[in-house]
Structure formats: C-alpha cells, structure tokens
Amino acid sequence: MSGAPQTPLAPAATSETSRRFEWSPRRIAVALVAAAVGIWLIAKASEDLRQFAVVSLNGITLAALFFVVASGFTLIFGLMRVVNMAHGSLYLFGGYLALEMQDSWFKEESGLGLSLSGTGDAEYSLVSWVVPLLLAILIIGVLGMIMQQVFLRWNQGQDLRQALITIALSVIFADQMLAAFGGISKDIKTPTAWPESITLPGDVRFGFFRGVIVLGAALLIGLALWWLIRRTRFGQIVRAGVDDRDMVSALGINVQLVFAGAFFLGAVLAGLGGVLGGTMIALAPGEDTSFLLNSLIVVIIGGMGSLGGAAIGALALGLVDAYADVYLIFGDTDLTNYSILVTFGLLVLVLAVRPLGLFGRPA
C-alpha cells in the first residue's frame, strides 16, 4: 500500500481533465459525422455554387422564421418552466387573424374587377400588411396572457399538468380554427409595392420577402430580445427568475406580473411568427403541429430557456432541412424523400453528446 498517498490525487486529476475535454467514443462519432457532412456539402457546393447559395439562403431564412417562433417558446419555458404545447396554435391563429383582417379591410379590387393583369388583381398597400400584423400580434399576446392567467397561474410548478392543459387547449384551438377558417391552404399577401425578388452579387436571385423582411425581422427581434434581457430591469428580473424564482419573489418583486409579461411576449412572438410564416409559406391546418415540432426541435437542440441556443438550434434545423431537401442525392439514388431522417439524426446527434441541448442547464 505504498501508493496510498497518491490515490486521492489520481481521481482528482482525471476529473480535472474530463471537465476540460475528452475524446469519448461518442464525441469521436459526432466529429466524424460532422466531418462527413462538411465534405459532402463542399462537394455539392463545388458542383453548382449558385444553387448552393440559394439553398443556403433558403435554410437561413427558414431558420429566421424558426427562431422567431421558438424564441417565444424558450422564453416562456426559461422563466416559468411551462412547456406551452399551444405555441403552434398561437402561431397559426396569429396568421389567420392577420389574414382575415387583410381580406376584410384592405382587399381593394383594382378597377371594378376588370382583372386584365391576370391573377393577382388586388392591390395591397404597405398599411394592409402592417396593420393586420400589429393587431394580430397584440390580440395573440393578450390571448396568451389570458391563457396563462386562467389556466396556468394557479398550478405553478406542476409542469406535466401544465403541459397537458396546453395540449388540451391546442386540441380545442385546432378544431375551432378548422371550423372557422376551413381546411384550404391560404396565404397573406405582401404589399404590392414590394419587389418580388432581389438580385445578390453573383447573379443570385432570391425572394424579397423571405430574404429581406423575414431575415431582417429575425435579426431585429434577436437584438431586441438581447437588449431586453440583458439591459433592462424586466430582463434583469427575468434572468434572476430563471435562476431562482423564489428568491426573486422574496425580494418583493411582483413575479406574477413578470410572468404575465413574459407570457404576453412569448405569445406575441408566436403570433408574429404566424404572420411572417403565413406570408412566406402558407396557413393551413397542420401548420400548428409543424411549428410546434419545429419549436420543440429547436429548443431541444439549443437547450431549453436559452435565447442563444434557440438561435443556434434554429440555424441548425433550418440549414439541415434545406440541404437535406435538395442534396440528398447520391449518384442515381434519390434519397430526398428520407430528408426527415436527417432532421432526426441531428436531434440524436445533439442529444447523444448533450442531453440538455447545446446551451441547456439543469432546471
């Protein structure tokens, strides 16, 4: 037993290194997959650079939309530990509200219905897009706040029960929206004055709304949220609340007010996502599911409650979706049908290394 004095040191030393970095088989596997994906993308990019640029832009703009929606989801979870399964419903309802307002208030036929110009005969001013947007997100925000006050406020901390309540609400929402707005896919019209597309250097043409408005909105929201969380008193309270809710409340801060505010903000972001998505893609039954799933995947990848995580997660999901939809062709075998498996793979990969997501912290 001459080595006895050293033994306490040995495990301490290994745990020290393991905290820094260690090439576990799991991590090696992840690195190999990442390298393979990188090589595959470079190979595809070198075939057709212009297509690669468009596909990448598609991915980034999709990611922008995912970020707007998921940031609301993660904000609510981070502060209140509420998994709002009705987030997708709020998204879709926001879109439908804006569409209804645009249709009933701003649809001006140009010249007595003499549609010589073809299909898109209605004129839409800038106001006809912005006013429905603002009203819709306001209504969704208030709706979200009511939801929290009526159904979630009194059972704080029972996270499963709260998730079940929001699932019940989403079932009711989905059915009522189907009744009210029908099953046909619709979209919100952009102002007529806006150009169809823009031309980027290298003669790459890309949709104006997608590339400028959605991307711009996401960047703006990202910055605004960062400012709000990092630089304002509200943000200070939210951050403190994420760490220790009871302590914040004990310091005399009206936590319930902050919760209501956070739910309002989270719902506003879902509604805004709905208006953007309803203009960029479409509004139809099933989009609520789709965006709930996207938000879930984004925050599972990025880590629940982390805004930076939501941004990274959205980017990863958007790019993976876009690349897998186009580039999953090897020689003659077309595997683009299986693109959903790549999304699944992304999820598996992240969870294998970090069960709580990239920026997740234990609750």
């Binding site: 159904f151 019940a168 294998a352």
Partner: protein
C-alpha cells in the same frame, strides 16, 4: 398508484372479463366492433403509456410513433394494396413487426432515457411526429392512399364480415397485456423501476444502472405499443400515415389521462370513454354556429380532456378512488392514504 393486490380486485377483474366475454351476446355487432374492440386496442396503446408513467415516471408520447412503425412493418410485409406488399405469411410478418417495433423503441429509449420529466415528454413527442412525417414522405412504404386490403392472420378471420373473432382475440390480448404488466410491476425489475421513479439518486447510489433500466422499461412499453399497432391494423384492415399523426398521438395521451395516468386499469376506462364519446357525442351535440356541432368532436374531446386535467389529475380512476375513499373513511385508513403515500409504504414493505 400501483394497483392493490386485494382479493376484491381479482373479483372485479374476473367480473369485467366475464362481462366482456358475454358482451357479443347482448350487444349489436356494430357496438361490439366500433365501441368494444376499438376500446380494447386503444386501451392496449394507452396501457403502454400508462405503464411507463405509473411505474417509471416517464410520460412518453412516442407510443403512437412506435405502434405506427410496427403497424407499417406488418402492412408492408403481408400481401396488400400499396406499400411494398412482400406477401409474407401474416404470422411471420407479425413477429417481424414486433421485433422492428421493439428495436425502434429501444433506440428511442436509448436517446431519450437520459432526459427526465418534461424534457422526456418533448423529446418523445418529437419522435412520434418524426415517425409520422417519415411515413407521409416515404410513399414507397406508406402507399399514396395508405396500405389497404391487408392479409390478416387466420386467427382473426375477416373482421369486416365477422367482428366477434377479432373482438375475442383483442380481448384475450388485452387481458394478457394487463396481467403481464401487473406481474412485471412486482418483479425485481418492476420494483427497481418504481424505485428510480421516486428516488433516482438513491437508486444510483445503490448500484442500479438507472439509464439502462429506463431503456429496458421503454423497450417493454414498445413491445406493448407494437402489439397495439398490430391490433389497430387488424381492426382497420389498413394503415395510413394520417392514422399515426399528432392527433392520434394526442388521442392516446388523452385516453391515458382521462382514464388516469397512475393506474393500468385507467387505460381501458379511458379508451371506453373515448370510444363512447367518439360515437355518441355526434348525436346529441347541439349545433351552435361554427363553434359546436356534430363535426366538432375534437372540441368536445379537448374540453373533456381539459376538465379532467383541471379537476382530477388522476383521471376517472382517480376520481372514483377519491369518491370511494370519502365514502369508506370510517372502515378504512384515514383519508389521504391514496396516491403517492400508498406507493411509498408499499415500496417499504417489499
């Protein structure tokens, strides 16, 4: 939480099974098929969810995804219209479907088992929806209008003409599933599972491999879910991606919650309630503009679900227990002994 082993429970079970066995003599073929058979297989699906939640503390939404995988495997391996129609013997296809279902379940479990609580719920929900998107994308497996006219095992005959055979098959399987899950909950494995539901840290300190236990439990639940998938495919005679979408995932969750997430019996109580609502609510629902009417079944289901979650987290079974407890306080233990506390004392005794 765990079913108590009193003799009265066995009597109740026997009465229910005998009544169920006699049901085809009393009820119409329609009722037997559309209400009873359907509740039995939906109950098996919900039981796989309740098993995980009651004994393992894991609320999994992946069960419909797994049953979809098993159902799709079966549908693709037997002779059918659509899909790959490999024309295997239905018995062989049955075994293969269960093997594939369990394998996928173990895979899902391996990824999700390190997460707990609400994270687990979200990850498994993502799995289930991904399975649905996979089958709706890959039409070589799911056909364009689903996989139809399946070749079924001779055991169930042709449910379209004679639903009683499928009914009795489903009844026997459901009873076996119930008994097996109850038995497993009392084996060392089941007890360890309940231990790590309540005290994962302590169990880990005792030397149990918590993650492996969770994965195995998930695999077992996947076996039950696969059986439910096969029963659903036999019942419908077909499978479409639409029958394993998020709505179905949530329906199975609703069934489990309505019945009671903490009791295996709840699975079938919830399923029967669901099937009755599904069929008869359309008849008595008043029409109220677009908001309410015979077509708005999901609204009614959602409201029932919401009310149950708000009033009784233990579901109908929990409600019944509370009522019984209040009536029988004089001769039984003091109130409040039901639920978590019974659980812990029971664990202590064993």
């Amino acid at each position: 939480m765990t079913p108590s082993t009193g003799r009265s429970n066995w009597q109740v079970l026997a009465v229910v099974v005998v009544a169920a066995a006699l049901a085809p003599l009393v009820f119409t073929e329609f009722f037997v098929s559309v209400i009873l058979t359907k509740s039995l297989w939906l109950g098996v699906a919900a039981a796989s969810l309740i098993f995980l939640s009651a004994y393992g503390g894991m609320v999994s939404l992946a069960q419909v995804g797994i049953y979809g995988v098993a159902g799709m495997t079966f549908a693709n391996l037997v002779a059918a219209d659509g899909g790959s129609a490999a024309a295997w013997s239905p018995w062989l296809a049955l075994v293969a479907a269960i093997v594939v279902g369990v394998a996928v379940g173990l895979g899902f479990g391996a990824i999700a088992a390190r997460s707990v609580g609400i994270y687990f719920l979200m990850i498994t929900l993502a799995f289930s929806v991904l399975v649905y998107y996979f089958f709706s994308q890959v039409t070589t497996l799911s056909g364009f209008g689903g996989v139809n006219n399946l070749d079924l095992p001779s055991l169930v005959g042709s449910p379209g003409q004679d639903p009683t055979r499928l009914y009795y098959t489903t009844l026997v399987i459901a009873v076996l599933v119930f008994l097996a899950l109850r038995y497993i909950s009392r084996t060392p494995f089941g007890l360890a599972l309940q231990g790590l539901r309540d005290e994962p840290a302590r169990m880990r300190a005792l030397g149990f491999d918590v993650t492996r236990h969770r994965i195995l439990a998930f695999g077992l639940a996947a076996l039950i879910a696969s059986i439910a998938g096969l029963l659903s495919v036999w019942y419908n005679g077909r499978i479409t991606p639409g029958s394993i979408n998020l709505a179905q995932t949530i329906d199975v969750l609703i069934i489990a919650v309505i019945g009671g997430l903490y009791r295996l019996e709840g699975a079938w109580v919830g399923a029967l309630t669901y099937a009755l609502l599904d069929n008869y609510s359309r008849e008595w629902t008043p029409t109220f503009g677009d908001v309410l009417g015979p077509e708005r079944f999901n609204t009614i289901l959602g409201v029932v679900f919401l009310v149950i979650v708000l009033l009784s987290p233990g579901g109908l079974v929990g409600l019944w227990e509370r009522v019984r407890e209040r009536l029988g306080t004089s001769r039984n233990e003091p109130p409040g002994a039901v639920g978590m506390q019974v659980e812990t004392t029971r664990g202590g005794q064993l």
